[in-house]
């Protein structure tokens, strides 16, 4: 290990150095991305609830502090980033350094960042969710050997938890990406466990800067929920229920607990999107409330700032009930062309107006019952 902590860069390329190191650590190299079955062997392990403790925010912070990392606070989801409406990766915490010439932080830092990735909307399944915690170490100014040192720290951590190095695979790739209109060359090591991608180590040798020389950056990060799934077995999602419903509830709880209100634009759009998705679950209001409360409790230890659960439910409820009214009307509009009532009306007015449509009293009664069963 000390060989990789030398104070000077050698002429070896990233791929040579990283593959030598990872090979010595016992990881198997892949030439192509593995196909993930969605039902890996570890799912069949007896559920291990103690695994949760090993991957708690406090345990992780303690470990990385002993590795010499500074502990950074997660970004609030209501905070604007330079590139995306919501944080999608822990490294975005460093965007003021990358894009505003903010002072370069000394040494590495550890960040546990809740993120939203809507691109997985139609891929939600075991192992894939549209929100999760990206746990990562970030180091601006890292030499290659220091980057490898950070990868080593993560491998050691996972090994101590029970994720053996010889069960891990890796693949090396390189890409040139545009980050906020800057061309960034990335050397990437992707890590897999039983075919599932669990994280990556990204080394950027020259991040272009406006007013100073280019920066070297090490970004090594993993999906907390996937690591937890490996350790715990059973269900990837921490809550029981249909995966799409649970994912929507978790993402909505995260967004609302961050204070994001619903709307048709910007960050508010995502609140409305998830709310509408959750209405499709057909669950009772009580079940939805429990789901969101449980999701909220799960997010709380990871969030820098969060609204209390009752306030979060309050932020969600009005929009949810409005979307519920919309959904019920859409179902009726096939047979009743005149049910285009404004769903933004107060509830009592809304139901009054129903009486003036072509719906008969038993249809209205059924609708009202269903509404009150499902409203928040």
């Amino acid at each position: 290990m000390e060989r990789f902590l030398e104070g000077r860069e050698s002429a070896e390329s990233h791929d040579e150095k990283v593959s030598q190191f990872l090979g010595r650590e016992g990881l198997r190299r892949l030439d192509a991305s593995p196909k993930f079955s969605g039902h890996p062997e570890f799912v069949e392990r007896p559920v291990n609830p103690e695994a949760v403790e090993r991957l708690s925010p406090d345990s992780l912070r303690q470990y990385f502090e002993t590795c010499g990392a500074r502990l950074e606070r997660a970004m609030a989801l209501g905070e604007e980033t330079h590139t995306t409406l919501f944080p999608v990766a822990a490294i975005q915490k460093l965007e003021p350094v990358f894009y505003e010439d903010a002072p370069i932080p000394e040494g590495p830092s550890f960040i546990a960042q809740p993120v939203i990735r809507t691109q997985f909307w139609d891929k939600v399944s075991q192992g894939t969710s549209t929100s999760f915690v990206n746990i990562a170490t970030e180091h601006v100014g890292a030499r290659m050997d220091e980057h490898i040192g950070h990868v080593h720290e993560w491998l050691q951590l996972m090994s101590s938890m029970g994720i053996k190095k010889e069960d891990l695979q890796y693949r090396l790739t390189a890409s040139t990406e545009r980050w906020n209109s800057r061309k960034v060359q990335c050397e990437v090591s992707k890590f897999y466990y039983q075919g599932m991608e669990i994280g990556d180590g990204v080394y950027i040798p020259d991040f272009p800067q406006a007013e100073r020389g280019p920066l070297k950056v090490s970004d090594v990060g993993f999906g907390m929920e996937r690591l937890l799934w490996i350790l715990r077995g059973g269900n990837y999602f921490p809550l029981e229920g249909n995966e799409h419903d649970v994912d929507a509830a978790r993402s909505l709880a995260l967004i609302a607990a961050s204070g994001v209100q619903p709307g048709n634009r910007g960050r508010e759009y995502r609140h409305r999107l998830y709310s509408k998705r959750l209405v499709q679950s057909m669950k009772s209001g009580e079940e939805i409330s429990k789901l969101i409360s449980s999701a909220h409790a799960g997010w709380l230890p990871w969030m820098a700032e969060a609204k209390p659960v009752q306030e979060t439910l309050g932020i969600i409820a009005e929009e949810y009930d409005r979307n519920l009214r919309r959904s019920l009307l859409d179902g009726l509009s096939i047979n009743h062309a005149d049910v285009g009532i404004d769903v933004n009306l107060p509830e009592s007015t809304f139901f009054e107006r129903l009486g003036s449509t072509s719906m008969d009293s038993s249809e209205i009664s059924s609708l009202v019952d269903e509404y009150y069963r499902r409203k928040l």
């Binding site: 590139t83 995306t84 999608v88 990735r117 809507t118 691109q119 139609d122 890409s175 048709n264 759009y269």
Partner: protein, 227 residues
């Protein structure tokens, strides 16, 4: 074909605003739109930026909620999945990459059937070019030896080139004659609309490169083209 196809000459949301507006106005008040950005080469973060962009772009044409779903692959997707959408928006990028993704998964057939059944599709830049006869109008984009060049052939004998400027006229003319391509060159603030009434020019006007006569003729806003 019973549906409607909007083809944009590309450019940013300001240049494409008028055609985007026509597209959104053709849909219901609160449409469900499928967005396919497969022409782009992006990382995870890049595709999140794409989603932010498309919701803002389409949302700027409606005071209502526009339900946007983004697909990052079309493997296994058929017309059955497409029927849940009021429209499909195919974004720009590398034309060959996009065509290859559609051809190799059979998704091109699904799109054609969706249009035949009355669906609405918007193609911008690369997303427009793939609806022509061939993508050899943009040979410079074949940067990875892609093998598919025969495009979806929805707009009769024509093939498209987008982001057109007059500086390209000679090169396009030569390409057209050499490969027998009847090309329509669309500047960025123009487009085409194909529906049951035919193929009509939208915007400031386009250029037609006739492969048989070698003639180059402007086609004005509102003019129809014989398929």
């Amino acid at each position: 074909m019973n549906g409607t196809l909007f083809l944009s000459g590309g450019g940013d949301e300001r240049k494409a605003y008028a055609l985007d507006e026509a597209f959104m106005r053709s849909l219901n008040d609160s449409p469900r739109v499928l967005y396919i950005p497969l022409a782009l080469d992006r990382t995870m973060r890049g595709f999140e930026v794409c989603y932010d962009w498309i919701t803002a772009t389409l949302g700027s044409h409606s005071s209502n909620f526009v339900d946007v779903v983004m697909w990052l692959d079309v493997e296994g997707k058929t017309v059955v999945e497409l029927r849940q959408f009021d429209a499909i928006y195919i974004g720009g990028g590398n034309t060959y990459k996009l065509l290859s993704a559609f051809r190799e998964t059979g998704f091109d057939s699904a799109i054609k059937q969706y249009l035949d059944e009355g669906g609405t599709v918007y193609g911008g830049s690369a997303g427009a070019v793939i609806f022509g006869q061939t993508v050899r109008t943009v040979p410079e984009e074949n940067d990875r030896q892609y093998v598919h060049e025969a495009a979806l052939g929805i707009i009769g004998r024509y093939s498209l080139r987008c982001h057109y400027t007059s500086a390209e006229e000679q090169r396009i003319r030569e390409n057209s004659i050499r490969f027998g391509i009847d090309a329509l060159a669309l500047p960025e603030d123009t487009g085409l609309i194909l529906n049951k009434d035919g193929l009509t020019v939208f915007g400031m006007g386009i250029i037609h490169f006739d492969s048989s006569s070698g003639e180059v003729e402007p086609v004005s806003n509102g003019q129809s083209l014989t398929l």
